[in-house]
């Protein structure tokens, strides 16, 4: 199953081995500059006086990512600092603070956070939380991202269609992202219910299944932050 969460919520989350030892905590989230996917995390030490760790945590070594902790197999899951340099950009660097502009030249707002879809095996940056340029809009909005996107400098270009899928809260945003991406792929999702109705519709399921490149867990996206989940024994 997939949950949507804000990248900023991961910061300070402890990194715990399966043996139960905390080896660090998340300092920052690092994205791949080519695809916008999550590349990994930089780490701080645990404890009051510990500074940044020299180790990083590549995403493929994450065993589990939950509301209480980021789990890794053991300390060998940590890589050294070089593993994440070069191809990636820090969350505080290229993404946060850049302006989102549509291809037709409308300014949507400034990126304040990145929304991640976290599944059991893979994760993806699916949208941005923005501070809207339009003063009459709610204080924050969520815009979906295309599958791939160049995260470059001060501005991010989005297709015009993205404006239709802007949501004011995370509930329903997962479905909006899905529809947006399906539309960009030229799928025939231009059905009437694509507008407004954010809930996944049973009629949408065949279309989503037809998009073969879509990872299976995307279809069952639950639209809630993982902190709201029931805890005991729900991970079977």
């Amino acid at each position: 199953m997939t949950v949507l969460l804000k990248a900023a919520d991961l910061v300070k989350r402890p990194v715990v081995t399966l043996a139960g030892e905390d080896v660090g905590q998340i300092k920052d989230v690092v994205y791949s500059s080519q695809s916008g996917e999550l590349a990994g995390f930089t780490l701080n030490g645990r404890g009051l006086f510990s500074g940044p760790l020299r180790k990083t945590l590549p995403w493929e070594n994450v065993h589990g990512l939950g509301p209480a902790a980021v789990m890794i197999r053991d300390e060998s899951s940590l890589a050294d600092r070089k593993a994440l340099s070069g191809v990636t950009e820090g969350a505080g660097g290229a993404v946060l603070g850049s302006t989102v502009i549509t291809q037709s030249g409308r300014r949507l707002g400034v990126v304040t956070d990145v929304i991640l879809a976290v599944g059991e095996t893979m994760t993806d940056a699916v949208g941005y939380e923005i501070d809207p340029a339009d003063a009459s809009a709610p204080r924050r909005q969520f815009v979906p991202l295309p599958d791939t996107l160049a995260v470059s400098g001060e501005a991010l270009m989005l297709p015009d269609a993205a404006t239709e899928f802007i949501r004011d809260d995370l509930a329903g945003f997962g479905a909006a992202v899905e529809e947006f991406r399906n539309r960009l792929r030229g799928q025939a999702v231009a059905k009437a219910e694509a507008k407004g109705d954010a809930r996944p519709h049973p009629a949408d399921q065949p279309t989503a299944a037809a998009a073969s490149s879509e990872p299976p867990e995307k279809r069952s996206t639950t639209q809630e932050l993982p902190v709201d989940e029931p805890t005991a024994g729900d991970q079977k």
């Binding site: 043996a19 030892e21 905390d22 805890t231 079977k236």
Partner: protein, 144 residues
């Protein structure tokens, strides 16, 4: 099955002298074998404060028995850290391997015959002993 809370604080009796040589303080659990490997004992009159499971003469509802106070000794080197207070099971938070918080360990239920941990008791949940993956200084990690 008995729960650790049923025997916590019970006296450890020396069968050769019929005197109390300590009180049961905490269970020591090996997460790899998911078994109790012994108990930490307070007010020990022996050379150390750990009695190993193999050194017990009896485990009754009202007392632990040993055949000599010498059984209360320092733990062997491989269990030294495991027996310390920093890795105590009771009171430690429980995380699943996917990073979900389940609660804190309130009690441990084990098989008195072989020391197998059958379940961890949380505030409002049971965790099967076989789900135990690790007991560390930060958390108890379980599968699922």
């Amino acid at each position: 099955m008995i729960r650790f809370s049923d025997i916590s604080g019970n006296p450890v009796m020396d069968t050769s002298t019929a005197t109390a040589v300590g009180k049961v303080q905490a269970p020591i659990v090996d997460p790899v074998t998911q078994r109790l490997i012994g108990f930490r004992v307070k007010k020990s009159k022996g050379p150390g404060d750990v009695v190993l499971w193999t050194g017990l003469a009896g485990l009754g509802p009202d007392a632990l028995t040993v055949d000599s106070a010498e059984r209360l000794a320092d733990p062997p080197a491989e269990w030294k850290r495991r027996a310390g207070t920093k890795l105590d099971l009771i009171g430690r938070v429980v995380l699943t391997e996917h990073g979900h918080l389940l609660g804190k360990v309130r009690d441990v239920e084990f098989d008195p015959a072989d020391g197998r941990v059958t379940s961890l008791l949380l505030k409002d949940a049971f965790v099967d002993g076989e789900r135990l993956l690790g007991i560390g200084s930060y958390a108890v990690v379980v599968t699922g």
